[in-house]
Symmetry: C2
Subunit: 151 residues, 2 copies
DNA sequence: CTACCTGCAAACTCTTTGCAAGCAG
DNA sequence: CTGCTTGCAAAGAGTTTGCAGGTAG
């Protein structure tokens, strides 16, 4: 199945990877949702209209997309990894997660980013100096109970 | 193998669990290290002097210890879960992690906690209100490159 | 054309479960 | 004694790998 030059083609080619239908479709699937999809989720969604796709290819593609920085890997401790488009290539803004320890619901939040930036600015440089560590990224999150599980 | 009343006995019994040699030994193993042990790590350490212990028991015990809040489960994306004694029952202070994405080394840090507390105080209440979510715990961490991998 | 990419199936690794025997209380 | 706990073995679940055929460039 050939495709001229998908939306993501140049990003792949710039890094020495080929632009293929499968890779485009996986990126489009991630782009089209606000959920945090597992490899199996992605596989099933695509399978409905592209029935010969293989689950192994989804895994292999996700690995590449992470390497390119197009996708983030997430762990909410529900037994599988989950993936989301990186913020710099998606319409999503910088955000973090509230994780319900009862029903496993995930809430994305993008609030109070100024406070976050202020906090990170205060400590990142100092952390790097003290521990001789080059920080590339951070993660922040809260666990607790969502409104449904509270009542 | 019977034991009168281990150091952790009352904590287990208070929650309706029995105090057993295996459970004591797992807690002592976690207490004795500054590493973040996987179930297999714990199993192997104990196996050297208590050879009939089963790996399944380690998994089952860790689940209980998490339920009791004695232990924290960690994920550093290296294919296995890792465990550490909770700060309120250990000599460790509140801390977070720097994770080297190259060699997977983990650095615990306990610095700049005042800045962290200030930040959390600013946003937790507001997050709870806005998203109708009861926060119980938080996690913070940084990924990047350690000094060895930098050079 | 040629090297990279893919689907399929099998292999692997970590984790969970069933069960009979063993212990704590 | 009674029911929770354990070790062992087997099963489960998610992920990775080998390989032959397919395809991008």
């Amino acid at each position: 199945m050939r495709r001229e030059c998908g939306k993501w083609g140049h990003r792949l080619r710039n890094h020495g990877f080929r632009s293929t239908f499968t890779r485009e479709i996986i990126l489009e699937t991630l782009e089209a949702t606000s959920e945090h999809l597992s490899p199996e989720d992605i596989y099933k969604k695509i399978k409905t209209y592209y029935s010969t796709i293989g689950l192994a290819t989804v895994y292999r593609t996700l690995e590449i997309l992470i390497e390119l920085g197009l996708v983030n890997k997430l762990d909410f401790d529900d037994g599988r990894k989950r993936y989301e488009l990186a913020e710099n290539v998606s319409s999503k803004t910088h955000h973090h997660h509230l994780i319900c320890i009862s029903c496993r619901k995930i809430i994305d939040y993008s609030d109070f980013l100024n406070d976050e930036i202020e906090f990170l600015n205060k400590i990142e440089k100092k952390l790097e100096m003290k521990h001789n560590f080059k920080i590339q990224d951070h993660f922040i999150g809260f666990t607790g109970l969502c409104s449904v599980c509270l009542s």
